[in-house]
Amino acid sequence: MFRILHDTKFDFIKWWRHAAVLTIVFILIGLSSFIFKGGVNYSIEFTGGTLVQVKFTQPPDPAELRAVIGEAEITQFGDATEYTLRLQGTQEIAQQASAAEGVAKDVEAKLRAKYGDGFTIVRTEAVGPKVGAELARGAVIAMLLASLVTLVYLAIRFEWRFGLSAVLSTAHDVLITLAFIKLFHIEVSLTVVAAILTLLGYSGNDTIIIFDRVRENLKKSRKEPLYDTLNRSINETLPRSVLTHVTTLAATLTLLIFAGSVLRPFSLVMAFGIFVATFSSIYVASPILLYIERKFPRKDLAGRGPHVSASTARAESQVEQPTRPIRGSKAPVGR
C-alpha cells in the first residue's frame, strides 16, 4: 500500500514556543491593524448602506464613473465592464432609515443621466441601519453560542481539560482568521461569517480527533508522560490530518477557482482557516492541555485518571527541555 507519513516520530510539541511566537506575532499585527487603521471592512449587510452592481456595455473610465457617482467605493468585479458601487457613508445610511431603496434609485438616476442605456443593473442591495445592527448582534451571539455548545459537549464527552483546550484553540483560530481578514482587506459579509462559523466546527474536529487518540493512548499506557502521549497521538493521526486537509483544501480551491467573485471571500477565509485549524490543533490545543495538566494535576490518582497525574511532574520538565528526544516511541504491537 502507498503511504505517506507512516509511523512518523516527529517531536511536534518541541516547537511549541516557536509556534506560539509565530501565531502571537501574527495576531498582534492583526490586532494593531484593528487599533490603528480602524475595524474590518464590513459589508453593507452589517453597516447598512447600498450596493449596486452594474454591467456596462462598454468598459467605463473609472475616474469618470467616480465623478458621476461621487462618494462611493467603486470596485471592478470580474471583467472590465462590471463594477460594484458601495455607498456606506453615514449620510446615505441615515437616508435609508426611512426608506432603504432611496440611495439605489439616486444612483440609477445618476448613471442613467450619464450613460443612457449603456448599462444594466445586475444586483442591488439596500439595507437600512437597523437591520444591519441586528445582523451583527446575531452573528456575535451565534459565535459565542457555538463555542459554548462545543465546550459543553466536549466537557461531557471528554473532560473539562480537553474541552477547555479545544475551545481555547478554536478561539485562537477565530482570532487569527480575523487578523487574516483584516490584513488582507477581505470584506466581512454574511457568507464570510458563515465561513468563520464553519471553521469553528472544523477546527474543533481536528482537535477532537487528536484528543480522541490521546484519550485512547492514555488508557493504554498509563506510565507515559502526557508530553509523549500527545506527540505520539499527533504522529498517529498525522496521515489522517494530511489527507483530510488535502481533500477539503481541494474542494475549497475548486470553489476559489470556479465559483467566481461572489464566493471568493468565503473561499479565501476557508482555505486559510483549514491551514490554521491543523496548526492550532497541534500547537495550540496540545500545549494548553499540557499547561492545564501542570497547573491542575489530577488528584484522583486511584480513580479514573491515574495515568497522567503520575507523570505530570515529568511532563513539566520535558516542556522545559524541549530538545529531549521522544521516549516510549511508538510501538505498533500492543504492549
Binding site: 445586475v122 439596500a126 437600512g128 489522517r240 481533500t247
Partner: protein
C-alpha cells in the same frame, strides 16, 4: 448473511427513495410566458432555488412610524401581512414568499420579478380610499385673513434667522410630509425640488397664503400655480397653520396638475372632514380604458356598502364628491346627479393601463392598516443567478473529481469503495434537501462543495485505523471490524459538534446563511451514514464474495 441482506436492502431502499425525491415531476405553478404570469404545468427537479440563484427581489418591510406612532404595532403588522399577501398573490409571481419575521418585520420574496419599482409600489401603497364632499360653506375663504396673519408671523421670524439650516430642515420635513409616495407626488416632486434650489433654502415669505390661491370651478376647489406649489406646501405644513384651519374641514392636494391658458396649476380641495364612505366596502375593482375619461378603475361596492353609499349620496345631490386615495384627490370631483349605488369609478386621466391595473389590485386587496417602509431590499438579476448556478455546479463537479482522484490514488480498492459511498452521499444530501423543501442558495452550494471535501474525512479516519490494525498483524476481517469500531467515537464526536454549530447558525442566521446551515446539516448527516454504514456494507459484501481475503488493497 441475513444481516448483510438487510443492510443492502436499506441502502437500496434509500437510493430508491432519494431518486424518487429528486425525480423530475410535474407541478402546477405560475410561470412567466411572454411577460405575463400564467398557471401552467411544468416538469422539473423538485429542488427549490433561492433568490440569489434564480434572480428576483427581496423586501423587508417595517411599520413606518415617521408620521406618528402606531398603537398596537404587532396586531397592525399581522393585518398588514394579510393585505400584502393578498396583493402579492394577485400580482402574479411564481412561488412568492410573504412571511412575518420576528415581531416587527414582513419579508417578501419575489422570484423572477423584472420590474422591482412596480413591485415596491404594489406592496407599499396604502390604498386608503375615501369619498368626501367638497366644502360649500366657503370655510377656507372665511379663515384666510387669520391664516395670512399666521403665515406672515411664521414667515417673519424664520427670515430673521440668518443661519438658515434649521429652517431649511423644517421646509424639507414639511415637504416630505405632504408628498405622500404616490404617483401624483412623483409628478410634482422634481418641480418642488427645483423651486427649493432656486430659492436658496429659505422659506417663502414674500406673499401670504391668499395671494397664492385662485378660486377654482367648483366649491372648495383652489388652483395654485406650479411655481407657487412648494410655498403653499410649506405653509400648509406649518403646525400653527394646521391648527388654524377651519374645524371639521380637511385640505387635500389633487393628484393631477391641470393646464389653464398655457399655465400649469396644482389643485387643492377643501373637504368636509367626515368621509361618507371608505374603501373598506369595495368588493371588486377592475381597470378600464374609456374614451371620455381615459384610464379608469371601475369598482363595485358590497351590498351593505352600496346601501350606505346610496343613503349618503342621496343627501348630497348636486354636491361634488372627491375620491381621495392616500390623501390625494383623484381626478376632479364629479357632481352627484342622483343617489349612487354599488358602482363607481376612479378617473386616472392620462396614465397608462398598468397603473390602473395595479390600483385595481390594491383596492381589491384592501388598504394597508399601517404605512410600511422598506428596511431592506435586494434585487438580483436573472443572469447573475444563472451564472451562479453554472459556477456552483462547475465547482461541485471539479471538487468531486479531485476527491475521487485523491481517494483512489491513495487507497486504491478501498478508495473506490469510499468513492461509491461519496456518490451515495451526494445523492442522499440532495434528496434530504429536496425532501425538507430546503432552499438552495449560493452559500448553500458552497457548503455542499465544502462538505464533499469533508465527507471523506470519516472514510479516511476509518481507513487509517484499518491500516494500523493490519500493521499489528491482525486478519483482514478483524482489522476492518476494529478499524470501524475504533474510528467510530471520533467520527461521532466530530459530526455532532459540527451539527451543533450548524444548528446555532440556523437559529441565528438569516436567508442565505440559513440555507448554508441546512445544507451543512444535511451533508454531515448523509456523510455519517455513507461512511459508517455504506462503506462498511461494501466491505462486508467484498469479504463475503472473496470468502475471507488474505490481503486488502487499502
Amino acid at each position: 448473511m441475513t444481516n448483510l441482506k438487510y443492510r443492502l436492502l436499506l441502502i437500496v431502499g434509500l437510493v430508491v427513495a432519494s431518486v424518487w425525491a429528486l425525480w423530475p415531476r410535474t407541478v402546477v405553478e405560475r410561470v412567466k410566458r411572454d411577460g405575463v404570469f400564467v398557471y401552467d404545468t411544468i416538469h422539473r427537479v423538485p429542488l427549490k432555488k433561492g433568490l440569489d440563484l434564480v434572480g428576483g427581489m427581496y423586501l423587508a418591510l417595517e411599520v413606518d412610524e415617521s408620521k406618528g406612532a402606531v398603537a398596537n404595532k404587532e396586531d397592525a403588522l399581522d393585518r398588514a401581512l394579510k393585505v400584502v399577501r393578498t396583493r402579492i398573490d394577485e400580482f402574479g409571481v411564481s412561488e412568492p414568499v410573504v412571511q412575518k419575521v420576528g415581531n416587527d418585520r414582513i419579508i417578501v420574496e419575489l422570484p423572477g420579478i423584472d420590474d422591482p419599482e412596480r413591485a415596491e409600489q404594489v406592496v407599499q401603497k396604502s390604498a386608503f380610499l375615501q369619498f368626501m364632499i367638497t366644502d360649500e360653506s366657503n370655510a377656507l375663504e372665511r379663515s384666510l385673513p387669520r391664516l395670512d396673519q399666521i403665515a406672515k408671523d411664521a414667515g417673519g421670524p424664520s427670515k430673521a434667522v440668518t443661519t438658515s439650516g434649521d429652517t431649511a430642515k423644517r421646509t424639507e420635513v414639511g415637504l416630505s410630509k405632504l408628498l405622500a409616495p404616490d404617483t401624483g407626488a412623483k409628478a410634482a416632486k422634481p418641480d418642488s425640488a427645483k423651486a427649493d434650489s432656486a430659492a436658496p433654502l429659505i422659506p417663502p415669505t414674500g406673499g401670504t397664503i391668499s395671494s397664492l390661491l385662485q378660486r377654482g370651478d367648483m366649491p372648495g376647489e383652489f388652483y395654485i400655480s406650479q411655481e407657487n406649489a412648494s410655498k403653499a406646501e410649506y405653509y400648509f405644513s406649518l403646525p400653527q397653520i394646521q391648527a388654524a384651519l377651519p374645524p371639521g374641514k380637511a385640505i387635500k392636494w389633487g393628484a393631477d396638475t391641470i393646464a389653464i391658458g398655457g399655465r400649469v396649476y396644482r389643485t387643492i380641495y377643501v373637504l368636509d372632514a367626515r368621509e361618507i364612505l371608505n374603501g373598506e366596502w369595495i368588493q371588486d375593482a377592475k381597470p378600464n380604458n374609456t374614451p371620455i375619461d381615459g384610464t379608469v378603475v371601475e369598482f363595485q361596492l358590497s351590498n351593505e356598502g352600496g346601501r350606505r353609499f346610496r343613503v349618503e349620496t342621496a343627501k348630497h345631490i348636486q354636491d361634488y364628491m372627491a375620491i381621495v386615495l392616500d390623501d390625494r384627490v383623484m381626478g376632479r370631483p364629479p357632481v352627484i346627479q342622483s343617489a349612487i349605488g354599488t358602482r363607481g369609478q376612479i378617473t386616472l386621466g392620462r396614465r397608462d393601463l398598468q397603473v390602473a391595473q395595479d390600483l385595481a389590485l390594491v383596492l381589491r386587496a384592501g388598504a394597508l392598516p399601517v404605512p410600511l417602509k422598506i428596511a431592506e431590499v435586494r434585487n438580483i438579476g436573472a443572469s447573475l443567478g444563472e451564472d451562479s448556478i453554472r459556477r456552483g455546479t462547475n465547482a461541485m463537479v471539479f471538487a468531486v473529481l479531485a476527491v475521487i482522484v485523491i481517494m483512489i490514488g491513495y487507497y486504491r480498492f478501498s478508495g473506490m469503495l469510499a468513492v461509491g459511498a461519496l456518490m451515495l452521499f451526494v445523492l442522499y444530501t440532495l434528496a434530504v434537501l429536496a425532501g425538507f423543501g430546503a432552499v438552495l442558495t449560493l452559500p448553500g452550494l458552497a457548503g455542499l462543495v465544502l462538505s464533499v471535501g469533508m465527507a471523506v474525512d470519516a472514510n479516511v479516519l476509518i481507513f487509517e485505523r484499518i491500516r494500523e490494525e493490519l500493521d499489528r498483524g491482525k486478519t483482514v476481517r478483524t482489522s476492518i471490524e476494529e478499524g470501524f469500531q475504533h474510528a467510530l467515537t471520533a467520527i461521532v464526536d466530530t459530526s455532532l459538534t459540527t451539527i451543533l454549530t450548524a444548528a446555532v447558525l440556523y437559529q441565528y442566521g438569516t436567508g442565505a446563511v440559513k440555507g448554508f446551515a441546512v445544507t451543512l446539516i444535511a451533508g454531515i448527516s448523509a456523510s455519517l451514514f455513507a461512511a459508517v454504514f455504506v462503506t462498511r456494507t461494501f466491505y462486508l459484501v467484498w469479504l463475503t464474495r472473496t470468502r475471507g481475503a488474505q490481503t486488502l488493497s487499502i
